[in-house]
C-alpha cells in the first residue's frame, strides 16, 4: 500500500484552505459590472395573482430591471422539472403540475417566486422588491399531510384532483400479504409521523449568472451538488442556452444534504436575466429565504404493521404512507418516497412478504425533495420502530428479536421481496459488536441508578440498511428515472509526473479532494500531495452525475479506478519499450514498472515524462498519459449497521439527554477512516436533530412557516449529543473495484429510530412522535404515569 493510500486516516487536504477562510464560495465570486437580484416572494400560502405593478419599484434608485413570470414565458423558458416518473396503482401517470420559474397567475406557498428585481446594489434590489405591488386574491390553504386529500380541501393544481400526485404501490401483492397477516400469531401496528425538516446547509444557496457577449455564452456560478446535471437541465429543459454555450461552476459549496440537487428558480432567473440585461446578476439567499425556498425533507404520515409467527419470526409487513410534496414537485420528489423508501422496508430481515403503498399529496408548503438519507431514514424509522414495539409487546429482548430475523451471512446475494438484491453483509456481527460496546448487559443496573435519581432511562436499537452508490442506469430507467446514474473520471498525468484527477462528482463537505487522492495514490503509487482532485466545473472535467445518495466513492471512486487501470495498461506498453522487455513481463507495483524477476524498473513519473516527450517510444502508441473512464455500477451498495442509543429523561421537565450513543457500521472498505468517522458523527447529529429538536411548523390556517429562523427552528448543537462510540465491521462489496459502500447518510438514517426507541423505552409508551421536544416528552411521561 502506498503511504497515505487506502485505509490511511489522512487529515483532509482541503481543510486548511476552508478553515482559514481561503475557500472560494459562490458569494466570494464577483464579475465585472455585476448587478444584484432580489426576489419578490409570496407572503401568502395560497393565492391567485390578479396583477403585478412594478412602476414604483422600477423608478427606485439603482434599479436595472424587473422581470415577472410573463417575461420569462415570453422567452419560452421551460418549466421546472421532476426527474422521475411514477405511475399510480391503476397505471395512470403522476399528476405533475406546471411549475414556472416565476409564478404566473398563482402562488402555492409562502416564499414562492413572483418577480426578480435587479439593481446596482443588493440593498437597492431589496428596497425595490418591497415596492413591487402584487394584488393577491387570497385562497384557503392546506398544509397538513394527513388531510391534504380530504374532501373539501383547498385545491392547489387543476391537474391534480384531491391534491393527489399519485397513489402508488410497489407491487400488486396486497391480497397475499393480507393472507399472511390473517394467519399471524401476533400483529404489531404503529401510526407514526416522519417530521418535515429544513436542510439548513451552512452556506445559503447563491448564484451568479454571467453573459459573455463575445461568444454569446453563459456561465452560472451556483451552489450545486451536480453542476453537469444543472447544465443539462438548464439547457435541455429550461432552454436557457445550448449545453455547449453554457458553463456551470459549482466552486466550494458549504453543505448540500440534498437541498442543492434541484435546479431552482433563483439561479435559473439570474442566468436568464444576465443575458437580458447584458450584465452579470448575483443573488445570495439570506437565511430567511433559505428557510422558505430550499427544498425541505421527509414529511410522511405512516401506518406500519408487522405480522409475526409463534416463534416471533417476521411473516409479513404492511406499510401505508402519505407523503407531502409541498406546493410543486421537485427533482427527486417522486422517487424519494417510493423507490428510495419502500424498497428498503425489508431492512436487515428475512421478512418474506411486504406490501407498501404510498400516496403523495400537494400542500401549500415549500416543495419537498431529497434530504440526507432521502427515503431511507423514513423506511428505517418505520421498520425499526415497529420491530422494537413488537419486541416489547411480545416481551422478547429487542436484540434477540432482531437476531432471530436477520439475513444470515451465507444467504448473500439476498433477494428481498422489495426489489433489491443485497450484495453482502454480516448484520449479526455489527449487532454483537454494538451490544458489547454499548454495555447492553449493564443497562438494567444503569436504569436502576437513574431511577434512584428521579430520572427515566431507556435504550433503543436501530438496525439499518441503505441502498447507496446510486445506481445502475438500466435499473434506474426501468423504475422511472429520467437519467443514467453512472459516473465519469479522468486521470491526467502531467509531464512532470504529478496527477490531476477530474471527477463528475462534487464535494460540498465530503472530503473528496483527500479521499479520491488516496485512491489514486494507492493505485498509481504517486504521493498523495502530488494528486489534485478537480470537480465542479463543466468546462474542466467530464460530464458527471454529481454527489448525492452516498454515491461518490462507490461510483465516482470506481470510475477513477477504471481510468487508473487504463493508465497502468498504457504505461506498461511504454515501460516495456523503454526497458526492452515484453509487455507481459512488466509488473506494476507501488508506482514502479518492473521487468519481472529483475531490478530493471521505471517509475510511473518517468513513464509519464516519456509519454509526453516521446523521442524513444513504442510504435502505434499515442503520446500522453491521460485516460478517462465512465463507470456504470452493477448494483446499489448496501451499507448497514447497528446503532444503540441510551437516553435519560427528566420527567419533571421532559428534557432528554442522550447519555450514550453507539454506532457500528459496515461501509465495506474504508478509504479514509477519519473522514468516515466525521461523516458518521455529522449524520448522527442530523438524525438526533430530527428525533429531538427539528421540525418545520406551519400554521394550519395561514400556511406561514412559524419557525422560519434559528430563533425558533431548533438545530441540534454540540450539547445535544454525547461523545459517540463508533466502530465498524467490514464486508467489502464484491460489486465495485474498491469494495466500498458509502457512508454519508448512515447516521441520519439510523439515528432517529435509535433515539425514539430509547425514549419510548424510557417512557413506557409508543405514543410520541418526532421531534420529541421537552413538552411532548413531559406530556407523554405524564400520560404513561
Amino acid at each position: 500500500m502506498a503511504e497515505n493510500g487506502i485505509g490511511a486516516s489522512l487529515k483532509r487536504k482541503e481543510d486548511p484552505r476552508l478553515l482559514l477562510g481561503k475557500g472560494s464560495y459562490v458569494d466570494d465570486i464577483n464579475r465585472p459590472g455585476q448587478a444584484y437580484a432580489a426576489f419578490v416572494r409570496s407572503p401568502h400560502a395560497h393565492a391567485n395573482i390578479k396583477s403585478i405593478n412594478s412602476t414604483a419599484a422600477a423608478a427606485a434608485p439603482g434599479v436595472v430591471a424587473i422581470f415577472t413570470g410573463d417575461d420569462m414565458a415570453a422567452d419560452e423558458v421551460g418549466p421546472l422539472i421532476c426527474g422521475w416518473a411514477i405511475s399510480s396503482k391503476d397505471g395512470s401517470p403522476m399528476n405533475m403540475p406546471h411549475h414556472t420559474c416565476l409564478a404566473q397567475g398563482k402562488v402555492t406557498y409562502v416564499g414562492d417566486h413572483v418577480a426578480i428585481v435587479i439593481a446596482d446594489t443588493q440593498e437597492q434590489a431589496k428596497d425595490a422588491a418591497e415596492l413591487v405591488e402584487v394584488d393577491y386574491e387570497e385562497l384557503s390553504a392546506v398544509v397538513g399531510t394527513a388531510d391534504a386529500d380530504a374532501a373539501g380541501a383547498p385545491q392547489l393544481h387543476e391537474n391534480a384532483p384531491n391534491n393527489t400526485c399519485f397513489d402508488w404501490h410497489l407491487a400488486d401483492n396486497k391480497a397475499d400479504v393480507d393472507a399472511a397477516f390473517a394467519g399471524a400469531a401476533h400483529v404489531t401496528k404503529l401510526d407514526i409521523l416522519n417530521n418535515r425538516l429544513v436542510p439548513n446547509a451552512m452556506e445559503p444557496r447563491a448564484a451568479v449568472g454571467d453573459y459573455e457577449r463575445s461568444t454569446d455564452s453563459l456561465t452560472l456560478y451556483t451552489t450545486s451538488q451536480n453542476p453537469h446535471v444543472a447544465r443539462l437541465v438548464l439547457s435541455a429543459f429550461f432552454g436557457i442556452a445550448p449545453e455547449h454555450k453554457l458553463r456551470v461552476v459549482a466552486p466550494d459549496v458549504g453543505g448540500g444534504f440534498g437541498s442543492k440537487i434541484y435546479v431552482y428558480s433563483e439561479e435559473t432567473a439570474c442566468l436568464w436575466a444576465a443575458r437580458k440585461i447584458d450584465r452579470a446578476v448575483k443573488w445570495t439567499a439570506d437565511r430567511a429565504e433559505s428557510f422558505v425556498s430550499d427544498a425541505h425533507g421527509r414529511d410522511h404520515v405512516t401506518t406500519v404493521e408487522l405480522a409475526l409467527d409463534g416463534d416471533a419470526k417476521f411473516l409479513a409487513m404492511r406499510c401505508s404512507t402519505k407523503a407531502n410534496l409541498g406546493g410543486y414537485m421537485s427533482l427527486f420528489s417522486s422517487a424519494v418516497p417510493t423507490y428510495m423508501y419502500a424498497t428498503l422496508l425489508a431492512g436487515q430481515y428475512t421478512t418474506p412478504q411486504i406490501y407498501a403503498e404510498v400516496k403523495t399529496v400537494f400542500t401549500n408548503t415549500t416543495p419537498v425533495d431529497a434530504y440526507r438519507g432521502a427515503g431511507r431514514p423514513e423506511a428505517t424509522y418505520a421498520l425499526e420502530r415497529v420491530v422494537e414495539a413488537a419486541a416489547r409487546e411480545l416481551n422478547i429482548d429487542p436484540a434477540e428479536l432482531r437476531r432471530r430475523n436477520l439475513i444470515q451471512p451465507d444467504q448473500f446475494p439476498y433477494e428481498t421481496p422489495v426489489v433489491h438484491t443485497y450484495d453482502c453483509g454480516d448484520y449479526g456481527a455489527s449487532l454483537d459488536k454494538a451490544i458489547e460496546i454499548a454495555d447492553y448487559a449493564g443497562f438494567a443496573a444503569r436504569r436502576d441508578q437513574s431511577k434512584a435519581g428521579g430520572k427515566l432511562r431507556g435504550i433503543g436499537f436501530s438496525n439499518y440498511i441503505e441502498a447507496c452508490g446510486i445506481a445502475p442506469s438500466a435499473a434506474v430507467g426501468a423504475l422511472g428515472g429520467g437519467v443514467g446514474l453512472w459516473e465519469a473520471a479522468q486521470v491526467r498525468f502531467n509531464p512532470t509526473g504529478n496527477v490531476t484527477v477530474f471527477t463528475g462528482t462534487h464535494a460540498h463537505g465530503q472530503g473528496h479532494e483527500t479521499a479520491f487522492a488516496q485512491v489514486v495514490a494507492d493505485q498509481l503509487g504517486v504521493p498523495v500531495e502530488n494528486v489534485e482532485v478537480v470537480h465542479g466545473d463543466t468546462d474542466k472535467g467530464p460530464f458527471g452525475m454529481g454527489t448525492y445518495g452516498s454515491r461518490s466513492i462507490a461510483v465516482g471512486g470506481s470510475a477513477i479506478v477504471k481510468a487508473g487501470e487504463k493508465i497502468i495498461a498504457k504505461g506498461r506498453k511504454i515501460a516495456a519499450h523503454l526497458l526492452e522487455a515484453a509487455e507481459d513481463d512488466i509488473e506494476f507495483t507501488d508506482g514502479n514498472f518492473t521487468v519481472a524477476g529483475t531490478d530493471k524498473a521505471l517509475n510511473i513519473g518517468e513513464v509519464a515524462f516519456a509519454a509526453y516527450v516521446p523521442h524513444n517510444y513504442p510504435e502505434g502508441v499515442e503520446p500522453g498519459l491521460d485516460e478517462s473512464a465512465f463507470y456504470d455500477p452493477l448494483n446499489f451498495s448496501f451499507p448497514s449497521g447497528t446503532h444503540i442509543c441510551e437516553v435519560e429523561v427528566d420527567p419533571d421537565t421532559g428534557t432528554v439527554e442522550i447519555v450514550n450513543y453507539t454506532a457500528v457500521d459496515d461501509f465495506g472498505t474504508l478509504i479514509n477512516p477519519m473522514i468516515v468517522a466525521g461523516q458518521v458523527h455529522g449524520g448522527i447529529v442530523q438524525g438526533v436533530g430530527q428525533a429531538l429538536t427539528e421540525g418545520a411548523a406551519y400554521d394550519p390556517d395561514s400556511g406561514q412557516l412559524v419557525n422560519g429562523s434559528f430563533m425558533d427552528y431548533t438545530m441540534p448543537r454540540a450539547d445535544n449529543v454525547p461523545s459517540f462510540n463508533i466502530d465498524t465491521t467490514e464486508t467489502p462489496s464484491p460489486l465495485n473495484p474498491l469494495g466500498v459502500k458509502g457512508c454519508g447518510e448512515a447516521g441520519a438514517i439510523a439515528a432517529p429510530a435509535a433515539v425514539m426507541n430509547a425514549i419510548t423505552d424510557a417512557l413506557g409508551t409508543e405514543n410520541i412522535d418526532m421531534p420529541a421536544t421537552p413538552e411532548k416528552v413531559w406530556r407523554a411521561a405524564q400520560a404513561a404515569g
Binding site: 440593498e123 431589496k126 428596497d127 439570506d286 430567511a288 419533571d652 421537565t653 429538536t693 411548523a697 412559524v706 419557525n707 434559528f710 430563533m711 425558533d712 427552528y713 431548533t714 438545530m715 421536544t773 421537552p774 413538552e775 413531559w778 406530556r779
Partner: protein
C-alpha cells in the same frame, strides 16, 4: 437593512441631544437585539445613536449595601465579576452564547424588556434600582409590559444597583432554539424578605407572592413544590404551551432555591 444615520454619542448629554434631534432615533448599546432586527428589515430608524463611546456607563463598583453595574457593562464582565452576587454572575454566564455575552449589555437588555430575557428576573428578583439620566426607578416599577418599561422618551439607563442578597439562585429552562428563557426563576432571600421573579413564562417578568411567603417561612425547594401558578395569560408557542410553562415555573423555582443553597 434599511438605511439610517449612524451617530456616535460622546457623552450622555450628547446622546440625549442626538436622540431628541432625530426624527425616529434609537439607541445602540450592545446591539444584540437591535442589529439582527435591523438586518432582517424588521425595524427601520432614521438614526442609530451608538452609546459605546460613553466610558463612564461601563463598569462594576461595589459599595456597602450592594453593587452598581454600569448600563454598558457586558454580560461576560458581570459573569466574571467577584463583586456581584454569585447568582447574578451565574445568570449572566448563561445568557445567549459567548458572542452575545461579549457584546450584549445589562442596560440594553432591560431597556428592551424582552419577555424571555434573563436579566429582568435578576433585576426584579433582587429588588434592584434602575438608575437613569433623570431618576432612579425601583425594579417593581420598571418592567411594565411586553417590551415595555417605565422609561420615558429621552431617558437613558446609566446603571443598575443590586442590593446584596443573603441567598439567591437562578434556574432557567432555555428555549431549545434561541436559548432565551422559556421559564427562568430568580429566587432571593433579601434583608427585607423573599423575592421570586419569573421571566419567560409571561408577557412580562413577574413575582409570585405565594412562593415568596412560603419561602419566607421555610427556605427550601419543598416549600414551593406544591405551589403552581395559573396558566392563564402565560405565553404559549410551539416550544411550550402556557400549561407547560406554568408547570415549569414550579420546577424552576425549586431548582432556583436549591441552587441558592
Amino acid at each position: 437593512m434599511y438605511n439610517f444615520n449612524y451617530q456616535r454619542a460622546s457623552s450622555l448629554d450628547d446622546a440625549v441631544a442626538k436622540l431628541g434631534a432625530a426624527s425616529d432615533g434609537t439607541l445602540l448599546a450592545g446591539g444584540q437585539t437591535l442589529i439582527p432586527t435591523l438586518k432582517q428589515r424588521l425595524a427601520s430608524h432614521s438614526d442609530v445613536i451608538d452609546l459605546s463611546g460613553i466610558g463612564d456607563l461601563r463598569g462594576i463598583s461595589a459599595d456597602g449595601g450592594g453593587v452598581t453595574v454600569g448600563a454598558l457593562t457586558r454580560h461576560a464582565e458581570v459573569a466574571a465579576s467577584a463583586d456581584v452576587p454569585a447568582a447574578l454572575a451565574a445568570l449572566a454566564d448563561g445568557i445567549g452564547d459567548p458572542q452575545v455575552r461579549n457584546c450584549g449589555t445589562l442596560g440594553g437588555s432591560i431597556a428592551n424588556a424582552d419577555p424571555a430575557a434573563d436579566y429582568p428576573a435578576a433585576v426584579l428578583g433582587l429588588g434592584a434600582t434602575v438608575n437613569t439620566n433623570l431618576r432612579s426607578i425601583a425594579a417593581d416599577d420598571f418592567f411594565t409590559g411586553l417590551f415595555e418599561t417605565a422609561l420615558n422618551d429621552g431617558e437613558i439607563i446609566t446603571s443598575v444597583t443590586f442590593p446584596t442578597p443573603q441567598k439567591a439562585g437562578y434556574a432557567k429552562f432555555p428555549n431549545p432554539a434561541s436559548r432565551y428563557a422559556m421559564v427562568g426563576v430568580f429566587a432571593a432571600q433579601m434583608g427585607d424578605g423573599v423575592r421570586v421573579a419569573v421571566t419567560g413564562a409571561g408577557p412580562c417578568v413577574f413575582r409570585v407572592a405565594e412562593m415568596e411567603s412560603a419561602l419566607a417561612g421555610n427556605w427550601s425547594a419543598d416549600a414551593v413544590a406544591g405551589i403552581s401558578v395559573s396558566a392563564d395569560g402565560l405565553n404559549s408557542d410551539l416550544h411550550g404551551s402556557a400549561e407547560y410553562r406554568a408547570h415549569l415555573v414550579t420546577v424552576m423555582a425549586k431548582r432556583a432555591v436549591a441552587a441558592a443553597g
